[in-house]
Structures are given as C-alpha cells and as structure tokens.
Symmetry: C2
Subunit: 457 residues, 2 copies
C-alpha cells in the first residue's frame, strides 16, 4: 500500500504540464485518461489552469462528466467562464446533473440569463432541476445562496432500525453525512441526531426518544458573514437552514464557510492595500489597473490638497525653510497611525469583539496617541535639533505637531470605520489609501497651524 | 418545540451581564446555575469575558468541570491566563481531564513550565496523561501541534459487524466521527472508511474488502499553514496524521483549521497595517503601544532620511521652490503603489497562486506601473500646470517623476516579498510601513534626481 499516490504530495511541475500537453497534441486519449485519473480533481483543475483554452477544453470533453463537473468547480473563475463559453447548453447541463445542488446553482449563476434558461431546460432530473431553480432565487450572500438541498432528514415517528434502513437511500445522494435532521409531520425542524447516536442506539428505539432537541439553525435570508460567524463560534460543521415557518430547506457545510471566511479576509486585506476588486496576481494588467488606479487617484487628490496647504503658508516657507524638510516625517507618521488605528477597529468589527461605546474607544485611542506621540516626538526633537541644527523653537514645533498629528490620526482612524459600520457601509473601505490620504492632508495642515502658533509667522 | 432557546439568537446585552452580576453578588448559586445552563458554553464564555476576574472565577468554580472546560477554551486568551492563575493545579487538571487531547495540550502549554509539570502529575487518567505529554512535545505550528489523539481506528481484518460493535466503544470518546481510519497490524495507515460506508455495507463483509485505499494524510512535522492549504484544497473535514513510518498518530479536524486560517489572515492584515503582535482593540494601551510603536519608529527614520535628501538639494529649493509643494504627492503615490504591489504578492504567496518566475512577474509589474504611472502623471501634470501655475518644465518634471516613482514602487513592492519568501522569511513583514517607508525615501530621491536632470540646477 505504501507506494500508492497521495494527493498531498502533488506538485505542479513544468514537466507534468509538458507531459499533459504532449499527450493532448498526440491525441493519445487512452494514455491521457489514464495519466489524469491518478490525480485528485482539484489537482487536475490546477493542471488545466496552466493549459491554454483549447487544451483545457480537449481534456474536459475527454473525461466523463462525473469527474469534469468537480474539476470545473475547482477551476480559476476566469478560466471556468472561458471553458463554459465553449461548451453547449447540453454539455453544461450534463455537468450540472453530477453536482450537488449548491455547486450546480453556483455554476449556472455564472452564465448569462439566456443561457441559464437553456441549461436548466436541458437538465433531465426533474427534482434536481426544481431544487436548482429554488436555489437560484436566493441572494448569493445569504444562507439561501450558500445552502445545498442534499441532506439526511428523518421523521420523529420512525424507529432507529427503520431510520437506518431509510437513510441508506438518502445517504447515497449526500457526500458527507454531518447531521441527521429530525422533522415533525409538517417538515418543521425539531432536532438533530448524529450517525454516531444512531449506531449507538438500540434498533427498536423511536427517534422521538433519542433525538437532540437543541439544534442550531439559520434562516434562509441570514447574511453569509453571520452564518460564518455562528458556525465558527459554535464549532459547527454543518447547519440547517429553515424558512420563517421553521420548515427545513437545506443545509450549509463548513467547507463553503471556509471559502466565505477566506474571501472575506482577502477582500478586507485588499481594501486595506487600496485594491478595490477581487484580483489576484495572475489577472491581466487591465483588470489590475481597474482595481488599483482609483485608489491611486484618491492619493493624487490628497497630494494636490497638501500642495495647496503648503502654498497657503508660503510666508512660513521663506522664514523657516527648515520646516519643509519635515513634511515627509509628518505625513508618514499621520498615515501610519491612521492605518494602524483603522485596521484594529475594522478587525474588531469583523470579529465582533467591538462593543458599541464609541466615546470610550475614542478616549482610549486618545491615550494611546498621546503615549506614542510623546515617544515619537522625543526622538524627532532630538534628531532635528542635533542632526539638522534646527532651533529649539522649530524642534519644539516639530515635536508638538507630531503629538497632535498622531492623536488626530488615531482618532480619525478609529472614528470613521465605526461610523461607516453604524450606517451599514463596509468599514473596510476606510482603511488603506482613504485613511492615509485624509490623514496626510489633515496632518500637514495641523503641522503648519502649530508652526504658526509657536513660531508666529 | 418552537419556543426552545436557540444559540443563534444569543445577544450579549448589558441587562444580561447585570443579571449575572446580581446573581453572583447575591451568591444565588441555584438560580445562577439554572440561568447559565440555558446558554451554549461559547456564549457563557462571552459573558465571562465581560465580568471582572473575581466574578468569572466565582462562575468557573460554581459550574461542573465538564461545562467549564469548554468555557475555558472559548475565553479570550488574556482572560484565560488570569483565570488559570487563580485555579490550583488540581483544579486545572480536572478541567483538562474533560477536554480532548488537543485542547488539553493547548491549555497546558499556556502555563509556566513548573505548573505544567504540576498539572500533568495531577491528571488521573493515565492514557490521557500520556497522550497530552506526547502532544506537548510537538511544535504548535505543525500538524503535531494541531492534532488530537481521539480518533476511530479499525483493523483491515475486522468484519463490518465486528467493526460496528467495536467502534461503538471508541466513538464514545470522539465528539464527531469524520472518518474511520483503517490500519494494518503494525498500526500503519492504509485507508479510510466513512460511517456511511459502514452502514451501507453488509454486516458480514470484511473491512479489507470495502475500505477506500486512497487516503489523504499529513506527516506530524508538516507546517500548520500547509495542512490548512491541503484541507481547503481537497475540501477535507478531517485529515489523519502519521509519522515517518506511516504509523497513525492522530487526526486534525476542520474547526482547528478554520482557526489557523483566521489567525493567519488576521496576522497578515495586522502586519500590513504596521501592527507587529497579535492584539485586539480590547488590549491595554501598553500592549497596543508595544505592537504599534516600532513600526511608527521605522516611519520616523524614513522621515528623517527624506529630510536629509531634501536638505541635500537645497539649491533646488531656492531656485524652484514650487517643487517642494509636490513632495506629499510623490510620497503618497510611492507609498500607495508599494502597498498595492506587495499586498498582491503576499496574498498570492499565501494562497499559493504565485509560481516561481520572478523575472516574468517583475516585467508585468513594470508594465502595470507604466500604465498607472502614465494615467497619474497626466492628471498631475494638468493640475500642477493649470492649478498651481508651474512652468512646463516643472510640470513635466513632476509627471516624469511620478511615472518613475510608480514603476520603482511597484518593482520594490513585488521584489522584496518574493525575496523574503525565498529566504524563508514571512513576506508579510514587507507590507505596510516597511514598504511605505522605503518607497517614500526612494521616491523623494528619484523626484529630486529627475528634477536635477530636467531642470538642471
């Protein structure tokens, strides 16, 4: 057994890709099928992502739809779109027949409306078709958009033996049985059971006597992020979804939630870095530019704002030209502090560890700003005076300005995300370039105002 | 059934906390026990996180260790440390007896070495004790550090009926049976089975005839992040852990991986924001300062570097004072581009979507920098000329400098994380203040060099 091929050791090498390309070129279908059958479908998807479109289509058409449907789900989204474009509605319908309802609905949702109807009409299994139609009606960012219709459901009136016999049938359609959901005659969710409970129970016991009455659930219109939060908090591997009448509609499994968590984290991270669309490093220059340029323009307008402020203090420039040397210092510090404060707030909001008291939080940031500001100001004061020979007055100006700028940046960085969140706007937009830019401009303004106050120009 | 209390509706209100505090003050143990028994342990942990230490200890000592062990695991790490400080070694040992081996080892690992020995010596269950000792020996960032010893294991020689009978015993210790692992006589992992397979099989079949030979696994010294990547890629809910001889040692479940993914994402996010320790908004000002101040100091030294560069070009300041107005623009743009580029690379490295070809990637960033640079330069050129009345030469200087600075920032932002990653250093350190600061300084230097070239001062 020890020589068997293990997925974990899979490595995408140039040689591997070349072997596949050669087999495609030779149209050596038998060898190609044999070669690819050694790999997990997620690995085959990685290989296809490296091939050109014609080669990928060749492989998709070669393998049977049971395999290719799983491969399709794992392909890079852009590549999947291209592949689907090359398949007929009939071919897509065949792939969709093999998929669980949640994946099937996700794939169909990526098609144009016209093609969606064509594909659905070609699905032969009427039950599957109806279930996919139902799922397509839900918003993708809700529990309904995440759930699958495949689940194992038993009635409270059944016996353990009858139950085991019957779920053998249901379980064939369900890849993994997480929980068995117990319903009453009206299909209302009333509890749950694990396969383990069923195995451990005596065969003549009634389900009504052994099922667990406390069951977590979400309603079908619950926000996807909230579902993720609940499943994480309670360490759930699956959660049933019900409608407003408590009727059991479907279930959400943890693997889909892992994707939600990842996407959410990736989105927040990109937002903080000033990237507004979900892009990755393999995307085209055009797509990357669309995601990056708008944020750079925000920075440009901030820079222009800063230029206006500086030119408004031109007398100061003549009298105290050394003040200008420290503009980059003020600006960098304001930006850094703002990003730190906003990141902590945004993360706290995402992890639900921030309570409502905004005044208390601002007070704390104020204290934190003072502590950091004093430390930074001392360093800058000493360096400017001894390193650059600035007068005491100018050095003190720089120190006082740094403390004020740090306190202000901390307050702005804390305040804005909380306010956005309260108004239902994603607070993550207020990280990165947005907060840096506003703090840059305010920081420079404060710097010159304090200089004016202390130096009196 | 419809009126039963559901976890999902839990909300931490001030009234709720006050009720608990009142019951503690009154020492109304019976009511308090009854009140708290309505909540999931994760919710009780949230309540305890809001109480003061004495109150929390009161509740911990009141409830039985089966409940409190789970509550302890869910407490905020800082609070758990304080609570554990107040418990005797005997009391901690009692909590630990109730926990799965992975959680038990995690709790013990948080204690001082001396207390670890005391607590372990007080554990009564000898097998549990030995398993915890084994787990404590593994590095926490490896598969060994994540795994639990609880699993269901069957020998290939057993029959389905015998197997079901025997795993009833094993399964009692295992909260959730994900997979049943099949081993040979030497306890070497040779395959897997699901409970479903077992139920669907005939009772006189041999395990050897029905088990699935392809099984994913990780070795005990595998990196935790790699385990997370594999489990996500292959949609696994549990993965067995083996040693170098293929002997089955334990298993890792997806809920622990969800935590790894979250922590990893949080860490990268904080690093990008210039926060070097795992902190959250509830931490003390002192802890937050320790996490934030070092990065601000990097910014200060960058600012001082920028000041030196500017003072080195003092002739230019006299001849073309308007150049100084646009220092913030140059600096902001350099910083923003650097953060964007590094974020994309760091995320690509984390998601394993970046292949090795560094030259190709730099070429792409070069192209991207040119496109973005041209767009930004045009905007800045027009605004500086018409808005600030700079001469054509100065406006062109600003435009050319912006293009050069953007290209440079994109290249540095891409190059540094890749190089760090190749050298085994976490590339996430090269995001945020680090990359912003270096790009600020280089940006300003390039700006003046280009000005010198074009304006010839």
């Amino acid at each position: 057994m020890s020589e068997e091929k293990e997925n974990i050791q899979f490595e995408l090498t140039d040689e591997l890709i070349e072997s596949v390309e050669l087999l495609i070129e030779e149209q050596n279908d038998k060898e190609l099928r044999k070669f690819l059958s050694d790999f997990h479908y997620a690995d085959v998807a990685e290989i296809l992502d490296e091939l050109n479109l014609d080669e990928a289509i060749y492989v998709i058409k070669l393998l049977d739809s049971e395999t290719t449907s799983d491969i399709l789900m794992e392909l890079d989204e852009d590549n999947r779109e291209k592949v689907l474009d090359q398949l007929s509605s009939k071919e897509i319908a065949e792939e969709v027949e093999e998929l669980d309802t949640d994946d099937a609905a996700d794939i169909i949702a990526e098609l144009s409306e016209e093609r969606q109807l064509e594909v659905i009409s070609q699905i032969e299994d009427e039950e599957h078709k109806a279930e996919i139609r139902e799922l397509l009606a839900y918003d993708e960012d809700t529990a309904g958009g995440l759930m699958a219709k495949e689940l194992v459901k038993v009635y409270e009136t059944w016996t353990v033996a009858g139950c085991l016999r019957r779920i053998r049938g249901q379980a064939k359609d369900v890849k993994r049985v997480h929980s068995i959901y117990v319903v009453d005659k009206q299909d209302k969710l009333i509890g749950r059971l694990s396969l383990k409970d069923l195995i451990v129970a005596k065969s003549d016991q009634k389900i009504a006597d052994i099922y667990i009455k406390s069951v977590d659930y979400v309603t079908v219109d619950e926000d996807a992020e909230e579902v993720a939060r609940v499943m994480q908090k309670y360490d759930l591997e699956a959660i049933p979804v019900i409608d407003e009448n408590q009727t059991l509609l479907g279930r959400i499994t943890i693997d889909d939630i892992v994707d939600v968590i990842r996407e959410e984290a990736d989105k927040d991270y990109q937002m903080a870095a000033g990237i507004s669309q979900d892009v990755d490093s393999d995307d085209s220059i055009w797509k990357l530019t669309k995601a990056r340029l708008p944020w750079l323009l925000i920075g440009v307008f901030g820079g222009i704002g800063a230029a206006s402020i500086i030119s408004g203090f031109s007398e100061a420039m003549l009298k105290f030209p050394e003040l200008l040397l420290f503009i980059p210092l003020i600006q960098a510090t304001a930006g850094n502090v703002g990003v730190q404060s906003s990141a902590i707030v945004v993360q706290g909001l995402a992890n639900d560890t921030i309570d409502g008291n905004i005044v208390k939080r601002l007070f704390k940031e104020f204290g934190l700003g003072l502590v950091n500001g004093l430390a930074i100001a001392c360093v800058a004061l000493v360096i400017s005076h001894f390193g650059f020979g600035t007068t005491y007055h100018v050095s003190i100006t720089i120190g006082v300005a740094l403390i004020s700028v740090i306190v202000m940046a901390a307050l702005i960085g804390t305040f804005i995300p909380i306010v956005l969140d309260k108004r239902g706007i994603d607070p993550a937009v207020a990280t990165g370039p947005f907060i840096t830019t506003s703090n840059d401009v305010f920081g420079i303004l404060i710097y010159f105002l304090i200089a004016k106050l202390i130096l009196g120009f």
